[in-house]
Amino acid sequence: MNEDLRRERDSASFNPELLTHILDGGAERTQRRKEIEALVLNDPDFQHEDLNFLSRSQRYEEAIRKSALMVVKLRKYGIADPDEIYWFKRTCLGSFVEPLGLHFSMFTNTLQNQCTVGQQDKWLPLTYGLQIIGTYAQTEMGHGTHLRGLETTATYDPATQEFILNSPTVTSIKWWPGGLGKTSNHAIVLAQLYTQGQCKGLHAFIVPIRQLGTHEPLPGITVGDIGPKFGYDEMDNGYLKMDNFRIPRENMLMKYAKIEPDGTYVKPVSDKLTYGTMVFIRSIIVGDSARSLSKACTIAIRYSSVRHQSELKPGDPEPQILDYQTQQYKLFPLLATAYAFHFVGAYMKMTYYRITGDINEGDLSELPELHALTAGLKAFTSWIANAGIEECRMACGGHGYSRCSGLPDIYVTFTPCCTYEGENTVMMLQTARFLIKSYTQVCSGQLVSGMVSYLNDLSGQHIQPQQVAARPTAVHINDPASLVEAYKLRASRFVEVAAKNLQAELNRRKSREDAWNRTSVDLVRASEAHCHYVVVKLFTTQLSEINDAAVHAVMNNLCLLYALYGISKHTGDFLQAGILTDAQVTQVYQRVKELLAAIRPNAVALVDAFDFHDNCLASVLGRYDGNIYENMFEWAKKSPLNKTEVHEAFHKHLKPKQAKL
C-alpha cells in the first residue's frame, strides 16, 4: 500500500467499519452485502475487458451478456430479496447501466400493476424468464413532461376487435426508452385512445415490435437506436414509429379502464398507487445521488492524499494536495453532502415502506404529501450531486479528465437523472405547489403536519426582513439543532415571499398559469430552501442514533460542516431575513475553515467507510492501495490507439509529407 494512504489510515480517530455498519443499516447487513459482492467479484464469468476501450456495439453486447448471466446466477444462488438483488447487480454493473433495466423495472411493474388477472397470467411468466423482453415507451420526440401532449394514437376498430396504432407526426415518434432500440421484442406503449370517435386520453398497450425467432421488426414497426449519447454507451435507447399497426383488444392493459368488444369505454376507478411507484423511484434516485457522490469523493480524496504538488513551506518536500485549504474546501463539504444524502435516501425509503406497509391495508393518506415533497428532494440532491461529481473530477487536475480516473463515467451515468423521472425544475415546482397549498391552508387557520409543519408558526411570527435585533442571538453556530432552526426560518421566509408574490401577480392578471409562471423563480427558491432544511434536519436527527463516541464526534463535525457551509454559500438569505448578523456570518466562515482542518485527519477513513470495492469504483486514481502512477501506465498501454506501434494515420496522411525530406 502507498505510504501516504497507510499513514492516513493509521491516524484516523475512529473505526471506519462501525460507520460502514451505520450506512448499511447494521453489521449483519454489511456482512450479507459483502457475501453477495463476493459472489460476483470471485466469479470468472463476470470478468470483462475495461469498457473504456470498447466500441458502443461491443459494450452493448457485453452488457447483454451480463444481463442474461445475472438472471441465471441470481436464480442459481436463490437471491430474491430486492436489496440483495440490488447489491448483486450494482456489483456487476459498476458505473454502468444495463439495457434490460427497464424490462425489470417499468415493464414488469406496469404489467403487475395495470394488468387484469388474465393478462398477468399470460404475460408475467414470459417476462420473468426473459422469454419476452419489454420496455416502457412513453416519452415521444416532441413530448416529455406534459403527458397530455403525447400524440401517438390507438384507435379501436370494433369490426376486427383490434387497436390500430399510429405515429401521426415526426414529433410523435417514441424516443429515448431504454432497451427499445435493439433489445426488446415488446413494448408497453402509451397512446391516446380513440373509440367511437372520441378521445379517451392516455392508456397503456402491450405491443409486440419484433418477430420472435428472427428478431426482425414486425411489418408496420420502425424501430432503432437513437445514436450516441452523453454516456449510457451500452444502453440502446430507441425510437419506435408505428404505421397502422394492429394489436388485439386484449393487449390494452385493462385493470382500470376497459374497452368492451363493441367499443364502449369503461372509466377507471382512480388510484393512488402510482404515487407509490414514483416515491419509490425517487428514493432510489436520492440514494443514487448519495452513492455516486460518495464514489467521486472516494476517488478524489484518496488521490489527493497520494498526489504531491508545489510547496507549502519553502524547502520542504512537496505536500499532499489534501493539505491545501482550497482542496479541502472543494472536497470536504462534498463529503459531508454525500453522508447527508445517504441519510435522506434511507429516510425516504423507510417512510415509503412504512406508509405502504402491506399496500392493501396501509394508510395511504400521507402518500400525496410524500409524493410532492420527494419530487423536490430528487431534484435538490441530484443537482448537487451532479455538480459535486464534476468538482471532484476537477479537483483531480488533469488526471481527472482521463477516463482512467473513473470520474467521467460516474458523471455521465449519473447526470441524466437530473432530467429523467421528472425534470428537476418541474419537480421543484411540484414541491412548490404543495408548499403554497400548505401555506394557504395555514393562512386560512388550518394546521399542517409533517415536514411542512413549520409553516404553522408563520401566522404567529411573520418574519420581517432586517429585524436583525429580533432573533440573531437565538442561533448557535456550533449546535446542529440550532442550525436546523435557522434553515427552518429561511424556508419559512421564502415560502412566504413566494406566496405573497404569487398573490400579487394573481391580483394583476387573469390566468393562474401566467401568474404562476411569473413567480416561478421565487417558487423554485422556496422549494430549494425547504429541501435544504429537510436535509439538515435529517442529518442532525441521524446524529442522535450514533452510539460510538468516536464515530459520533466525527459525524458531528461533518453535520456541522454541511449546515455551516450551506449558510456560507447563501449568506444573503440569512442576512436579508435577519436570521444571522454580519458578525455571525463572519464566524460561520471562520468555523467552516476550522472544521476543514478538524476533518482533514479523518478524510481518508471517512471515504473508506463507504466501502467501495476497487472493481466498483473502476478508477485508477481511487485505488484502495494508492498505487496510482504505475497503474495509469498499465492502463494506458491497453488503449486502442496503442494497438500498433505505428498508427495507420501515419502511413495514410503523414508519410507523404515527410517523404519530401
Binding site: 407526426t169 437506436d225 464534476e390 503523414l654
Partner: protein, 675 residues
C-alpha cells in the same frame, strides 16, 4: 407538431425553409442582426472574410464533420490528422498564410476538430527560447510539416509545480552530449497533445545537470520517432494515454526516455547555454517565456473557450423556441419553453455572459499588446500585471463557460443528452479548460497574490497598476439606489461590484496580516487564507468584466438600437451576479434587504425584455450549421426531423451485433410456442 410531408429539411443551412416558430422570433428583432454580427467580428470586413473562408471550408467534403459523433477514438484521430494535412494544402492553394486572418476562421469553421495544435506550441517555444541558428534549423522543417513536434512539460506526477519535474538531462563533456532520462514512473511525460501517435520531435523540459550540479529546468529538442518508418527511436517509449472525457481526436501521449543522447546544440539556448567545457552561461532574462504562456492563454480563450459557450447558447436558445411543452394559458397551444421564467433564468444570463466575455477580447488584447511592446524592449514592469490579469481572466472565463455549457445541456431536457445535440461534445471540451493552461484555483491565487501586493502599494502610497487602481478610490459605504430602476444605472452596479471586490480583498489581506503578526509563518498564513483569497480574486475579475461591459456599451453610442439591447445584456449580467451572490453585497449593510428586492425585481423584468430578442442575439454569433454540428441548434429549426434523420445513420442501426444471436435468441425461442 412537425408534419411528415416536409421535404429537404435535413439538407443544409442554405435552406430557406425555416420552422415558423423560429421565423416569428426573427421577425420581431429590435435591432439589425447583420450589424451586430459585424460589431462582434470587429468590423464588416472581417465578417466578409470569415464567411468567405467558411464557404470554402464547407464546400469541401474533405473537411466534413458529418458522422463525427459516431466515430471511435481511432477514427476521430485519423480524421483530425486528415483534415489538418488537407487544411495545410488548402491554405497554400488559397494563399492564406500562417499569420493571416483566415486561419482562425478555418479553426472556427471546423469546430477546432484538427490535429497538431501542440505542434504550434512546439514552434512557439523554439521561437521564444531558441537561438537564431536553432530557429533557422528547425522552424522551416516544422512549417512544412516535415517534422511534427510536441511540447513535453507535464509529467505523470507533476503539473503545476514546474520545479518538481523529475526528467533529467545530464551533460557529458567527453561526448558533448546530453543524456536524457526518465528516472522513475512519476517522471514520465504525460498528457502532451500530438505526442501519442503523431509527433516525430519534442521539446522536452528537464532538469539540467552539469558535473553533478543541478541548474534547473531547461528545454531540449529531441527526435522521438523515425522519419523513415515512424517507429519510436531507440530508448524512447511513447504511446497514447487512453480515452478521455473528450479530445478524442487528439493523441495525448506519454513519453519515457532511457539514456537518450542528444548533441549539445539541441538545448534551446537563447537565454542559457552550456559551453563545450561544461560552463553554464546565462544570458538576459528568460522572462519573455512568460509571454508565450500568456499568449497561449489568451489564444485558447478566444479560439476555443468563449466560442464554445456561444455555440451552446445558440443551440439551447433556438431549441427552446422550437420545443413546446405544457400550457401557459388554458386553451392555448403548448407554450414555447423559452416562455417559462425558469427557462429564461437558465439561458438568458448565460447569453449575457457570452457577450460579456466576448467583449473582454479587446480589453485583454490592448493590455497584451502594450505589454508585448514593452517587454520586447526589455522593460518587464508590466509583466506582473499582465500575468495576474490573464491568469484571473482565464480562470473566471473557463469556470463560467464550463458551468454555462452544462446548464445549456440540461436546459434542453432529454435531447440535450443525445450526442447529436452537440452539447455533450461542447461541454466535455470546456470541462478540460478549467485545468489546462493553468489550474483555475492556482491561477486565482496568482491573481490574489498580485492584488495583495497592490493593496500594500495603496497603503504605502506607491503607484498602482491600472487594472487595480480602483482599490484606492474612496468608498461611499452604502449603495445609493432608491428604486429598482436605479439598479439599471451602470454607476450604481459598477460601484457595488467595486465595493465587493475591495471589501473581500481587504478582509483577506487583514486576516493574512493578522495571522503573520500573531506569529504564523508566512506560507502557513497564506494557506489558511486561500479560500478567502480565491473569493477576493474572483470578485476582482467579476468587477473587471462588469466594468469592461459598461465601457463597451458606451462605445456603441452611434448604434442606438444595438446599444439598447447590449445595455440590457450588460444590466442582466451585472444584476444576475448580485442576485446570485446577495450575501456579498448585504454584508455590513452595503446593500439593504429592500434594495436586494429591487435588484430581484429589475433582474426578473430584464429576463422578459431580453426574451424577445433572444433568437436574434444568438443568430448574431453567426455560426454555420456545419460548425455547430447540432441536430437541435440548426438555423432552420427543423429539430425533430434532423434528430430522426441523424439517428438512423447511427452505426448501431447498421452494424450487426452478435448480442441477439448469442444471448437473446436462445431466450426468445421458448416464447414462440406461447404467443
Amino acid at each position: 407538431m412537425a408534419q411528415w410531408n416536409r421535404s429537404g429539411y435535413f439538407r443544409s443551412s442554405g435552406s430557406r425553409d425555416v420552422n415558423p416558430d423560429l421565423e416569428t422570433e426573427r421577425q420581431t428583432a429590435s435591432f439589425s442582426v447583420e450589424r451586430l454580427t459585424a460589431i462582434l467580428d470587429g468590423g464588416a470586413d472581417n465578417t466578409r472574410t470569415r464567411r468567405a473562408v467558411e464557404a470554402v471550408i464547407h464546400s469541401e467534403p474533405g473537411f466534413s464533420r458529418e458522422n463525427q459523433y459516431f466515430q471511435s477514438q481511432n477514427e476521430r484521430y485519423e480524421a483530425a490528422v486528415r483534415r489538418s494535412v488537407y487544411l495545410k494544402e488548402k491554405m497554400h492553394q488559397m494563399g492564406w498564410t500562417e499569420d493571416g486572418p483566415e486561419i482562425k476562421y478555418c479553426y472556427r469553421a471546423l469546430g477546432g476538430d484538427l490535429a497538431f495544435n501542440v505542434h504550434r506550441v512546439f514552434k512557439n517555444s523554439i521561437l521564444a527560447l531558441g537561438t537564431d541558428e536553432q530557429i533557422a534549423k528547425w522552424i522551416p522543417l516544422a512549417d512544412k510539416y516535415h517534422i511534427i513536434g510536441t511540447y513535453a512539460q507535464t509529467e505523470l506526477g507533476h503539473g503545476t509545480f514546474l520545479r518538481g519535474l523529475e526528467t533529467t538531462a545530464i551533460f557529458d563533456i567527453s561526448t558533448q552530449e546530453f543524456t536524457l532520462n526518465t528516472p522513475k514512473i512519476s517522471a514520465m511525460k504525460w498528457w502532451p497533445g500530438d505526442l501519442g501517435r503523431s509527433a516525430t520531435h519534442a521539446v522536452v523540459f528537464a532538469q539540467l545537470y552539469i558535473k553533478g550540479k543541478c541548474y534547473g529546468l531547461h528545454a531540449f529538442i529531441l527526435q522521438i520517432r523515425s522519419l523513415r518508418d515512424h517507429s519510436p527511436a531507440p530508448g524512447v517509449i511513447v504511446g497514447d494515454i487512453g480515452p478521455k472525457m473528450n479530445f478524442e481526436h487528439i493523441d495525448n501521449g506519454y513519453l519515457m526516455l532511457q539514456n537518450i543522447n542528444i548533441p549539445r546544440e539541441n538545448m534551446l539556448s537563447r537565454f542559457s547555454q552550456v559551453l563545450p567545457d561544461g560552463t553554464y552561461v546565462k544570458r538576459g532574462s528568460d522572462k519573455i517565456n512568460y509571454l508565450t504562456m500568456i499568449m497561449t492563454r489568451i489564444h485558447i480563450l478566444w479560439i476555443e473557450v468563449i466560442p464554445t459557450l456561444l455555440k451552446a447558447c445558440t443551440i439551447a436558445t433556438r431549441y427552446s423556441v422550437v420545443r413546446r411543452q405544457s400550457k401557459l394559458n388554458p386553451g392555448d397551444p403548448e407554450a414555447k419553453i423559452l416562455d417559462y421564467q425558469t427557462q429564461q433564468q437558465k439561458l438568458l444570463p448565460l447569453l449575457a455572459t457570452a457577450y460579456a466575455f466576448h467583449f473582454m477580447n479587446a480589453y485583454v488584447n490592448e493590455f497584451y499588446n502594450k505589454g508585448y511592446t514593452e517587454i520586447r524592449q526589455e522593460n518587464f514592469d508590466s509583466l506582473p500585471e499582465l500575468h495576474a490579469l490573464t491568469a484571473g481572466i482565464k480562470a473566471i472565463i473557463t469556470e463560467y463557460c464550463t458551468a454555462g455549457a452544462e446548464v445549456c445541456l440540461r436546459a434542453c431536457g432529454g435531447h440535450g443528452y443525445s450526442a447529436l445535440s452537440g452539447l455533450p461534445f461542447l461541454y466535455t471540451k470546456l470541462a478540460a479548460s478549467c485545468t489546462y493552461e493553468g489550474e483555475n484555483t492556482v491561477l486565482f491565487l496568482q491573481t490574489a497574490r498580485f492584488l495583495v501586493k497592490c493593496l500594500a502599494a495603496v497603503h504605502s502610497g506607491q503607484p498602482i497598476p491600472p487594472s487595480a487602481t480602483y482599490l484606492s478610490s474612496v468608498d461611499s459605504g452604502k449603495c445609493q439606489a432608491r428604486t429598482s430602476v436605479d439598479f439599471l444605472k451602470p454607476d450604481i452596479y459598477a460601484e457595488a461590484y467595486r465595493h465587493r471586490a475591495t471589501r473581500l480583498l481587504g478582509n483577506a489581506a487583514t486576516k493574512l496580516q493578522g495571522l503573520v503578526q500573531s506569529g504564523a509563518e508566512q506560507h502557513e498564513a497564506w494557506n489558511q487564507c486561500t479560500v478567502q483569497l480565491v473569493q477576493a480574486a474572483k470578485a476582482h475579475c467579476h468587477y473587471i468584466v462588469v466594468k469592461n461591459f459598461i465601457d463597451t456599451v458606451e462605445k456603441l453610442r452611434n448604434e442606438a438600437e444595438i446599444q439598447k439591447i447590449v445595455k440590457h445584456l450588460c444590466d442582466l449580467f451585472a444584476l444576475h451576479g448580485i442576485f446570485s451572490n446577495t450575501g456579498d453585497f448585504l454584508y455590513a449593510g452595503y446593500i439593504s434587504g429592500d434594495q436586494i428586492d429591487m435588484v430581484t425585481a429589475s433582474y426578473l423584468d430584464l429576463l422578459a425584455v431580453i426574451r424577445n430578442d433572444a433568437v436574434p442575439l444568438v443568430d448574431a454569433f453567426d455560426f454555420t450549421d456545419e460548425s455547430l454540428n447540432s441536430a437541435l441548434g440548426s438555423y432552420d429549426g427543423h429539430v425533430y426531423q434532423r434528430l430522426y434523420e441523424w439517428a438512423q445513420k447511427s452505426p448501431t442501426n447498421k452494424q450487426v451485433s452478435q448480442a441477439y444471436a448469442r444471448y437473446l435468441k436462445p431466450l426468445f425461442q421458448s416464447a414462440l410456442s406461447k404467443l
